[in-house]
């Protein structure tokens, strides 16, 4: 194995994350290459140094602050939820329907038939159903009468 190919393997080797056959290949190379051996040892030393940094704890208010922010999040509605009216809208719509029916009850009734017109209507009814009258020839229209006169 060349030193170039070691680039991608040296850190996984130090980590112990190489497969068995890869690890053996790296070790064979390290036995014969002092520069890569030094690098592997120094990478191991660097990872040891990084362990020296302390771990910090989040502040006591961290959770409280986050829970407050989560609680303040607007509630997401589903597609069907979007169609469902809110209680206020539903209440307003019901009021509108009720008001329409109530106002409808005050609308004026159709005009009553005048008392004087009743006999006239009765006469018309009798005449339109009087059989002898239906046997009479149909009345001649004014234009037809003129034509008949001209022919004569």
């Amino acid at each position: 194995m060349s030193c170039n190919r070691m680039e991608n393997r040296i850190l996984p080797y130090v980590d112990g994350r190489l497969k068995e056959n890869e690890r053996r290949e790296v070790e064979t190379h390290l036995e014969s290459c002092a520069a890569c051996r030094l690098r592997a040892n120094e990478f191991r030393a660097v990872t040891g140094l990084l362990d020296e940094l302390p771990v910090i704890e989040p502040s006591a208010a961290f959770d409280t602050r986050l829970h407050a922010r989560v609680a303040a999040e607007p509630v997401k509605r589903s597609l069907w939820g979007w169609f469902a009216p809110s209680p206020r809208v539903a209440f307003a719509a019901s009021l509108l329907v009720a008001a329409t029916f109530w106002l409808g009850s005050f609308s004026p009734t159709p005009p009553a038939i005048a008392q004087d017109d009743i006999p006239v209507l009765e006469n018309y009814d009798v005449l339109s159903n009087f059989e002898p009258l239906t046997e009479l020839p149909q009345p001649v229209q004014a234009d037809d009468a003129d034509q008949q006169n001209q022919q004569m």
């Binding site: 040892n41 986050l66 922010r69 999040e73």
Partner: protein
Amino acid sequence: MARSDVQLMLDVKAGDEQSFALLLQRYRTPLVNFLYRMVRGREQAEDLAQEVFLRVYRARKDYVPSAKFTTWLFRIATNLALNSMRDNRYQRMEISIDAPVTTDAEDGDERTLDVAEQHPNIEQHLIEEARRKMIRHAIDKLPEKQRAAVLLHKYQELDYNEIAKILDCSESALKSLLFRAYETLRVELAPLVAQQPR
């Protein structure tokens, strides 16, 4: 038996708020530490960690367990940290060059956590503090993506494959990135590396 991260997240999706509290309990410390080491400010790290959890909560209804939960979580965290660092860099560029620069203002955060009783010898305490400062500065000097790769690799102990997904690169590219980062650290920390037992 403890529920897996994915199971907890699916329970959050189903409306179980308690499962979200468990995920928070499980990941708040690793997340705050990762972000603290990325952005180097405790308050800023906590703000970003809050934002990460909030985004997880907001995305609960659309959650599909297609990858490991930690991959998703640290991907959000890494993106937020990188954006925040870029924003800070632009803000810093606007500050007058006459303004005093406090490169180590946040070091006090860690100092307050060091319990005095653990260091009866003040000289030893100062030596350890100097070593830590040197290590922190070596990490800070790494390019952003290399820094994220080292932190995810070293402190979160994530798989190479997982880190590659978080950083949106191939596994081979990630190994090269880590190699270059460790090479830089090896040079920067040479005086300390020489003292390390082999």
